[in-house]
Symmetry: C2
Subunit: 165 residues, 2 copies
């Protein structure tokens, strides 16, 4: 498991402290207006995700929760993660069996991810696969698409640089 080091969104440096604060404040606000309950455990998990800006496995999150005084059984992490995913504050990366904070919370969107196979950094982009050839194929086949997972694996700028030597 890659340890978190650099702060990045979309592989670019940024004011991460402000980034975290903004994300949490935004989540608080949206939960308040929409009537969701952003409990301490859920808030802490979101904070962990935003803070690392990487895909974190449920058990990695669980370890960090334990260190912070929360429960230490798997459901603690999974329940919080399910809440965050369900309401669009986080996404699951199927390819890694791991989770990332959403980069565009609040806005309805079909995310696509770029995942570095070396350092596990994840950037979120927009996708519209159902509008391309896949959508046409699905209509032709009589298949109704409800959700689409798009995950590109490759090398992030930093690891690409590293690889060149």
């Amino acid at each position: 498991m890659a340890t978190e080091n650099a702060a990045l969104v979309g592989f670019a440096q940024h004011d991460h402290a402000a980034c975290i604060k903004r994300a949490l404040a935004g989540a608080e606000a949206r939960c308040a207006t929409e009537g969701f309950r952003l409990t301490p455990a859920r808030r802490k998990v979101l904070e962990l995700l935003v803070q690392s800006h990487r895909a974190l496995g449920a058990y990695a999150i669980l370890d960090r929760l334990r260190d912070t005084g929360f429960g230490s059984q798997p459901p603690v992490a999974y329940r919080a993660l399910n809440f965050l995913v369900k309401h669009g504050f986080a996404h699951k990366i199927e390819r890694l069996n791991a989770f990332v904070a959403c980069a565009h919370p609040g806005i309805s969107h079909a995310p696509a991810f770029m995942i570095c196979r070396i350092c596990n950094a994840v950037a979120e982009a927009q996708s519209a696969p159902a509008e391309g050839g896949l959508g046409a194929t699905a209509r032709a086949a009589g298949f109704r698409i409800e959700k689409t997972v798009v995950e590109a694996e490759g090398l992030c700028p930093a690891c690409l640089e590293q690889a060149r030597g």
Copy 2:
């Protein structure tokens, strides 16, 4: 886990016996010309995948292998599956942690999948996500895409019909 019943490719009925025979013959031929070793276990796993025409988990395959006299430890199934995936005879469905036989073996292609959330039927279509907006985003971000996973979840024609009542 959905039990296999209907024979389908791309959700359509077809001559499944011929379909299986053709797939295995094709695999034999390609292994012969390219120097791969399609051993009994590998062949059997491919046969199971083609036969079910659905996503099968490694342990489901393992059960069937055991019943047929092969080894019964997980690595038996995983090794065969890894071989098949590596050489393009099968694909892994990340969303389901399961495997399907490739619908277009031999031809180099970027697969996209349509997965029925009710019956687990899987149809394989072509995709080219790296040529659309995602490709542009990746280039702009300096990310080098090596492989892309595209998996659409929804309702297959049969289950859609069922759902209408």
